[in-house]
Protein backbone atom coordinates (compact mmCIF):
# COMPACT_ATOMS: atom_id res chain seq x y z
CA UNK A 1 0.00 0.00 0.00
CA UNK A 2 2.77 2.40 0.95
CA UNK A 3 4.71 1.56 -2.17
CA UNK A 4 1.55 2.11 -4.17
CA UNK A 5 1.06 5.51 -2.57
CA UNK A 6 4.62 6.43 -3.37
CA UNK A 7 3.91 6.00 -7.06
CA UNK A 8 0.46 7.50 -7.22
CA UNK A 9 1.53 10.41 -5.06
CA UNK A 10 -1.74 10.56 -3.13
CA UNK A 11 -0.96 12.44 0.01
CA UNK A 12 -3.32 12.96 2.90
CA UNK A 13 -2.20 16.42 4.05
CA UNK A 14 -3.74 18.37 1.14
CA UNK A 15 -7.08 16.70 1.84
CA UNK A 16 -6.80 17.52 5.56
CA UNK A 17 -6.11 21.14 4.69
CA UNK A 18 -9.03 21.38 2.27
CA UNK A 19 -11.47 19.77 4.71
CA UNK A 20 -10.40 22.14 7.48
CA UNK A 21 -10.71 25.21 5.30
CA UNK A 22 -14.26 24.34 4.27
CA UNK A 23 -15.31 23.34 7.78
CA UNK A 24 -13.85 26.36 9.55
CA UNK A 25 -15.30 28.84 7.07
CA UNK A 26 -18.68 27.40 7.94
CA UNK A 27 -18.10 27.14 11.70
CA UNK A 28 -16.76 30.66 12.07
CA UNK A 29 -20.04 31.86 10.60
CA UNK A 30 -22.49 29.72 12.54
CA UNK A 31 -21.10 28.86 15.98
CA UNK A 32 -20.20 32.53 16.23
CA UNK A 33 -16.69 33.72 16.92
CA UNK A 34 -18.28 36.42 18.98
CA UNK A 35 -21.62 37.24 20.52
CA UNK A 36 -21.94 40.07 18.02
CA UNK A 37 -22.14 37.78 15.01
CA UNK A 38 -24.67 35.53 16.70
CA UNK A 39 -26.87 38.53 17.56
CA UNK A 40 -26.55 40.05 14.10
CA UNK A 41 -27.38 36.73 12.53
CA UNK A 42 -30.52 36.34 14.62
CA UNK A 43 -31.76 39.87 13.95
CA UNK A 44 -31.04 39.70 10.23
CA UNK A 45 -32.85 36.39 10.05
CA UNK A 46 -35.88 37.86 11.85
CA UNK A 47 -36.09 40.81 9.44
CA UNK A 48 -35.90 38.60 6.39
CA UNK A 49 -38.37 36.10 7.81
CA UNK A 50 -40.97 38.89 8.02
CA UNK A 51 -41.08 39.05 4.24
CA UNK A 52 -39.63 35.85 2.86
CA UNK A 53 -39.59 32.33 4.16
CA UNK A 54 -35.96 31.36 4.57
CA UNK A 55 -34.29 28.44 6.32
CA UNK A 56 -31.97 29.52 9.20
CA UNK A 57 -29.06 27.49 7.84
CA UNK A 58 -29.29 29.46 4.59
CA UNK A 59 -28.17 32.66 6.28
CA UNK A 60 -24.42 33.05 6.56
CA UNK A 61 -22.90 35.91 8.51
CA UNK A 62 -19.14 36.26 8.52
CA UNK A 63 -16.81 38.76 10.02
CA UNK A 64 -13.45 38.93 8.28
CA UNK A 65 -10.90 40.52 10.56
CA UNK A 66 -8.24 42.60 8.89
CA UNK A 67 -5.55 44.75 10.45
CA UNK A 68 -7.38 48.04 10.05
CA UNK A 69 -11.00 47.18 9.35
CA UNK A 70 -13.30 44.20 9.62
CA UNK A 71 -15.69 43.27 6.83
CA UNK A 72 -19.14 41.98 7.64
CA UNK A 73 -20.35 39.62 4.96
CA UNK A 74 -23.98 38.53 4.85
CA UNK A 75 -25.14 35.80 2.51
CA UNK A 76 -28.79 34.91 2.34
CA UNK A 77 -29.89 32.09 0.12
CA UNK A 78 -33.48 32.48 -1.01
CA UNK A 79 -35.21 29.62 -2.85
CA UNK A 80 -35.74 30.41 -6.52
CA UNK A 81 -39.54 29.98 -6.38
CA UNK A 82 -39.85 32.42 -3.51
CA UNK A 83 -37.68 35.00 -5.22
CA UNK A 84 -39.67 34.70 -8.45
CA UNK A 85 -42.97 35.03 -6.63
CA UNK A 86 -41.73 38.12 -4.85
CA UNK A 87 -40.61 39.71 -8.10
CA UNK A 88 -43.94 38.90 -9.72
CA UNK A 89 -45.74 40.54 -6.82
CA UNK A 90 -43.63 43.64 -7.20
CA UNK A 91 -44.41 43.85 -10.88
CA UNK A 92 -48.09 43.36 -10.16
CA UNK A 93 -47.98 46.07 -7.51
CA UNK A 94 -46.36 48.52 -9.88
CA UNK A 95 -48.90 47.78 -12.63
CA UNK A 96 -51.85 48.36 -10.36
Amino acid sequence: MKLFQLFTGRRSAPLARERLQILLTHERGTTGQSGLIAMLREDILAVIAKHVEVAPERVEVRLERGDEVAILEINVEIPDVVARAAMARERGGRAA
Partner: protein, 271 residues
Protein backbone atom coordinates in the same frame (compact mmCIF):
# COMPACT_ATOMS: atom_id res chain seq x y z
CA UNK B 1 4.90 45.14 34.87
CA UNK B 2 4.24 41.43 34.69
CA UNK B 3 3.00 39.61 31.63
CA UNK B 4 0.19 37.12 32.16
CA UNK B 5 0.36 34.40 29.54
CA UNK B 6 -2.23 31.67 29.00
CA UNK B 7 -1.22 28.40 27.39
CA UNK B 8 -4.35 27.01 25.80
CA UNK B 9 -5.57 24.73 22.98
CA UNK B 10 -9.13 23.50 23.27
CA UNK B 11 -8.08 19.93 22.57
CA UNK B 12 -6.48 17.78 25.25
CA UNK B 13 -3.17 15.99 24.98
CA UNK B 14 -1.50 18.41 22.58
CA UNK B 15 1.17 19.56 25.03
CA UNK B 16 -0.19 22.48 27.08
CA UNK B 17 1.29 21.32 30.38
CA UNK B 18 4.58 20.25 28.78
CA UNK B 19 4.82 23.64 27.05
CA UNK B 20 3.89 25.61 30.20
CA UNK B 21 6.63 23.84 32.16
CA UNK B 22 9.23 24.09 29.40
CA UNK B 23 8.56 27.78 28.69
CA UNK B 24 8.44 28.55 32.42
CA UNK B 25 11.87 27.01 32.93
CA UNK B 26 13.28 28.67 29.81
CA UNK B 27 12.10 32.13 30.93
CA UNK B 28 13.33 31.54 34.48
CA UNK B 29 16.73 30.42 33.20
CA UNK B 30 17.01 33.72 31.35
CA UNK B 31 16.71 35.49 34.69
CA UNK B 32 13.01 36.32 34.72
CA UNK B 33 10.88 35.76 37.82
CA UNK B 34 8.32 33.19 36.72
CA UNK B 35 5.25 31.54 38.24
CA UNK B 36 3.48 28.68 36.46
CA UNK B 37 -0.16 28.28 37.49
CA UNK B 38 -2.22 25.13 37.00
CA UNK B 39 -5.85 25.92 36.13
CA UNK B 40 -6.80 22.29 35.57
CA UNK B 41 -8.79 21.98 38.79
CA UNK B 42 -9.62 18.33 39.51
CA UNK B 43 -7.08 16.99 37.02
CA UNK B 44 -3.90 18.71 38.04
CA UNK B 45 -0.67 17.59 36.41
CA UNK B 46 1.63 20.58 36.20
CA UNK B 47 2.96 19.67 39.68
CA UNK B 48 3.90 16.23 38.36
CA UNK B 49 5.57 17.52 35.20
CA UNK B 50 7.48 20.05 37.34
CA UNK B 51 8.54 17.31 39.76
CA UNK B 52 6.84 18.98 42.74
CA UNK B 53 3.92 16.59 43.27
CA UNK B 54 4.91 15.77 46.85
CA UNK B 55 5.26 19.37 47.91
CA UNK B 56 1.71 20.62 47.25
CA UNK B 57 0.01 21.79 50.42
CA UNK B 58 -2.24 24.64 49.33
CA UNK B 59 -3.51 25.42 45.84
CA UNK B 60 -5.13 27.95 43.51
CA UNK B 61 -8.61 27.39 44.96
CA UNK B 62 -7.36 28.01 48.50
CA UNK B 63 -5.82 31.31 47.37
CA UNK B 64 -8.80 32.32 45.23
CA UNK B 65 -11.18 31.63 48.13
CA UNK B 66 -8.99 33.60 50.51
CA UNK B 67 -8.33 30.57 52.79
CA UNK B 68 -4.57 31.11 52.66
CA UNK B 69 -2.19 33.82 51.55
CA UNK B 70 -0.60 33.49 48.12
CA UNK B 71 2.84 33.14 49.71
CA UNK B 72 1.71 30.01 51.58
CA UNK B 73 0.55 28.29 48.39
CA UNK B 74 3.50 29.10 46.15
CA UNK B 75 5.94 26.22 45.68
CA UNK B 76 9.46 27.35 44.95
CA UNK B 77 11.37 25.22 42.48
CA UNK B 78 14.35 23.50 44.11
CA UNK B 79 16.52 23.74 41.01
CA UNK B 80 15.76 27.25 39.76
CA UNK B 81 15.43 29.88 42.44
CA UNK B 82 13.28 32.37 40.53
CA UNK B 83 10.69 29.80 39.41
CA UNK B 84 7.51 29.05 41.37
CA UNK B 85 4.47 26.85 40.96
CA UNK B 86 0.89 27.40 42.03
CA UNK B 87 -0.83 24.03 41.84
CA UNK B 88 -4.47 23.31 41.08
CA UNK B 89 -6.75 21.62 43.57
CA UNK B 90 -7.17 17.90 42.98
CA UNK B 91 -10.26 17.39 45.12
CA UNK B 92 -12.48 20.20 43.83
CA UNK B 93 -14.02 20.81 40.43
CA UNK B 94 -13.74 23.73 38.06
CA UNK B 95 -16.93 25.40 39.30
CA UNK B 96 -15.06 26.13 42.53
CA UNK B 97 -13.12 28.85 40.67
CA UNK B 98 -14.73 32.21 41.35
CA UNK B 99 -14.05 34.96 38.86
CA UNK B 100 -13.39 37.47 41.62
CA UNK B 101 -11.00 35.07 43.36
CA UNK B 102 -9.06 34.44 40.15
CA UNK B 103 -8.86 38.19 39.45
CA UNK B 104 -7.45 38.89 42.90
CA UNK B 105 -4.99 35.99 42.69
CA UNK B 106 -3.69 37.02 39.25
CA UNK B 107 -3.41 40.60 40.51
CA UNK B 108 -1.19 39.48 43.41
CA UNK B 109 0.91 37.27 41.14
CA UNK B 110 1.48 40.25 38.82
CA UNK B 111 3.13 42.12 41.66
CA UNK B 112 5.56 39.32 42.50
CA UNK B 113 6.60 37.98 39.10
CA UNK B 114 7.73 39.04 35.63
CA UNK B 115 5.82 36.20 34.00
CA UNK B 116 2.66 34.44 35.15
CA UNK B 117 2.01 31.42 32.94
CA UNK B 118 -1.48 29.94 33.20
CA UNK B 119 -1.79 26.31 32.13
CA UNK B 120 -5.33 25.98 30.81
CA UNK B 121 -7.37 22.79 31.02
CA UNK B 122 -8.68 21.30 27.79
CA UNK B 123 -12.19 22.19 26.69
CA UNK B 124 -14.00 25.50 26.49
CA UNK B 125 -15.77 25.40 29.86
CA UNK B 126 -15.20 27.34 33.04
CA UNK B 127 -11.65 26.17 33.75
CA UNK B 128 -10.46 27.19 30.30
CA UNK B 129 -12.30 30.53 30.28
CA UNK B 130 -10.98 31.36 33.77
CA UNK B 131 -7.40 30.54 32.71
CA UNK B 132 -7.61 33.00 29.79
CA UNK B 133 -9.80 35.61 31.49
CA UNK B 134 -7.07 37.94 32.80
CA UNK B 135 -4.31 37.08 30.33
CA UNK B 136 -2.36 39.68 28.37
CA UNK B 137 -1.27 37.25 25.69
CA UNK B 138 -1.98 33.68 24.65
CA UNK B 139 0.01 30.77 23.33
CA UNK B 140 -2.22 28.43 21.34
CA UNK B 141 -0.70 24.94 21.36
CA UNK B 142 -1.59 23.00 18.23
CA UNK B 143 -0.63 19.62 16.74
CA UNK B 144 -0.51 19.34 12.94
CA UNK B 145 -3.69 17.30 12.99
CA UNK B 146 -7.25 18.19 11.88
CA UNK B 147 -9.02 17.92 15.26
CA UNK B 148 -6.38 19.98 17.03
CA UNK B 149 -6.46 22.73 14.37
CA UNK B 150 -10.24 22.90 14.51
CA UNK B 151 -10.25 23.20 18.31
CA UNK B 152 -7.52 25.85 18.20
CA UNK B 153 -9.66 27.87 15.82
CA UNK B 154 -12.49 27.72 18.34
CA UNK B 155 -10.18 28.77 21.18
CA UNK B 156 -8.91 31.73 19.13
CA UNK B 157 -12.55 32.81 18.83
CA UNK B 158 -12.95 32.62 22.62
CA UNK B 159 -9.72 34.55 23.20
CA UNK B 160 -11.14 37.30 21.00
CA UNK B 161 -14.44 37.46 22.84
CA UNK B 162 -14.32 36.07 26.40
CA UNK B 163 -11.17 37.67 27.82
CA UNK B 164 -11.02 40.94 29.77
CA UNK B 165 -8.77 42.36 27.10
CA UNK B 166 -11.29 41.56 24.37
CA UNK B 167 -14.16 42.96 26.42
CA UNK B 168 -12.24 46.21 26.89
CA UNK B 169 -11.97 46.36 23.10
CA UNK B 170 -8.22 45.72 23.15
CA UNK B 171 -6.42 43.33 20.89
CA UNK B 172 -5.58 39.98 22.45
CA UNK B 173 -2.14 38.91 21.33
CA UNK B 174 -2.10 35.28 20.23
CA UNK B 175 0.79 33.09 19.15
CA UNK B 176 0.85 29.64 17.64
CA UNK B 177 3.07 26.96 19.14
CA UNK B 178 3.12 23.98 16.81
CA UNK B 179 4.01 20.84 18.76
CA UNK B 180 4.77 17.22 17.84
CA UNK B 181 5.88 18.38 14.42
CA UNK B 182 7.53 15.82 12.18
CA UNK B 183 9.52 17.47 9.41
CA UNK B 184 9.89 14.27 7.42
CA UNK B 185 6.20 13.39 7.39
CA UNK B 186 5.18 16.98 6.65
CA UNK B 187 7.73 17.15 3.85
CA UNK B 188 6.25 14.00 2.35
CA UNK B 189 2.77 15.50 2.45
CA UNK B 190 1.54 13.04 5.08
CA UNK B 191 1.13 15.68 7.77
CA UNK B 192 -0.23 19.24 7.71
CA UNK B 193 2.70 21.58 7.12
CA UNK B 194 3.59 24.69 9.10
CA UNK B 195 2.30 26.84 6.23
CA UNK B 196 -1.00 24.92 6.14
CA UNK B 197 -1.65 25.45 9.85
CA UNK B 198 -0.53 29.09 9.76
CA UNK B 199 -2.74 29.85 6.79
CA UNK B 200 -5.78 28.27 8.42
CA UNK B 201 -5.37 29.80 11.89
CA UNK B 202 -3.72 33.06 10.75
CA UNK B 203 -1.95 33.94 13.99
CA UNK B 204 1.83 34.55 14.26
CA UNK B 205 4.12 31.60 14.87
CA UNK B 206 5.94 31.42 18.20
CA UNK B 207 7.77 28.18 17.65
CA UNK B 208 7.86 24.68 16.23
CA UNK B 209 8.48 21.86 18.68
CA UNK B 210 9.59 18.67 16.97
CA UNK B 211 8.16 15.29 17.91
CA UNK B 212 10.75 13.83 20.25
CA UNK B 213 11.21 11.06 22.79
CA UNK B 214 12.89 13.62 25.05
CA UNK B 215 9.47 15.06 25.92
CA UNK B 216 8.22 11.81 27.47
CA UNK B 217 11.57 11.30 29.17
CA UNK B 218 11.31 14.75 30.73
CA UNK B 219 7.85 14.10 32.18
CA UNK B 220 9.00 10.71 33.46
CA UNK B 221 11.75 12.52 35.35
CA UNK B 222 9.58 15.38 36.55
CA UNK B 223 12.04 17.76 34.98
CA UNK B 224 10.84 20.02 32.12
CA UNK B 225 12.66 19.32 28.87
CA UNK B 226 14.41 22.70 28.91
CA UNK B 227 15.98 21.61 32.22
CA UNK B 228 16.54 17.86 31.78
CA UNK B 229 18.25 18.05 28.41
CA UNK B 230 18.82 21.63 27.34
CA UNK B 231 20.70 20.57 24.21
CA UNK B 232 17.90 18.37 22.87
CA UNK B 233 15.86 19.49 19.87
CA UNK B 234 12.62 20.24 21.76
CA UNK B 235 14.52 22.14 24.46
CA UNK B 236 16.23 24.33 21.88
CA UNK B 237 12.86 24.99 20.24
CA UNK B 238 11.28 25.97 23.57
CA UNK B 239 14.25 28.19 24.41
CA UNK B 240 13.88 29.99 21.08
CA UNK B 241 10.15 30.40 21.71
CA UNK B 242 10.85 31.87 25.16
CA UNK B 243 13.29 34.37 23.64
CA UNK B 244 10.64 35.40 21.09
CA UNK B 245 8.18 35.93 23.95
CA UNK B 246 10.68 38.35 25.44
CA UNK B 247 10.68 40.29 22.20
CA UNK B 248 13.91 38.98 20.70
CA UNK B 249 14.07 38.26 16.99
CA UNK B 250 15.16 34.67 16.61
CA UNK B 251 15.27 33.01 13.18
CA UNK B 252 12.63 30.32 12.90
CA UNK B 253 14.27 26.94 12.46
CA UNK B 254 12.92 23.50 13.06
CA UNK B 255 15.30 21.82 15.49
CA UNK B 256 15.67 18.31 14.29
CA UNK B 257 14.80 15.35 16.42
CA UNK B 258 15.04 12.74 13.66
CA UNK B 259 17.56 11.60 11.08
CA UNK B 260 19.36 14.72 9.91
CA UNK B 261 20.01 13.31 6.44
CA UNK B 262 16.38 12.42 5.80
CA UNK B 263 15.30 15.86 6.88
CA UNK B 264 17.85 17.46 4.64
CA UNK B 265 16.31 15.54 1.76
CA UNK B 266 12.65 16.06 2.56
CA UNK B 267 12.54 18.82 5.10
CA UNK B 268 11.86 22.47 4.68
CA UNK B 269 12.41 25.51 6.78
CA UNK B 270 9.79 27.77 8.21
CA UNK B 271 9.18 31.13 6.64
Amino acid sequence: MAEVLVVTSGKGGVGKTTSTAALGVALAQSGQKVCVVDFDVGLRNLDLVMGAERRVVYDLINVANGDVRLQQALIRDKRIENLSLLAASQTRDKDALSEEGVRRCIGELREKFDWVICDSPAGIERGATMAMRYADLAVVVTNPEVSSVRDSDRIIGLLDSKTMKAERGERMEKFLLLTRYDTVRAGRGDMLSIDDVLEILSIPLLGIIPESEEVLRASNLGSPVTMSNAKSAPARAYNDAARRLRGETVPMTIPNARHPLLTKLFGRRAA
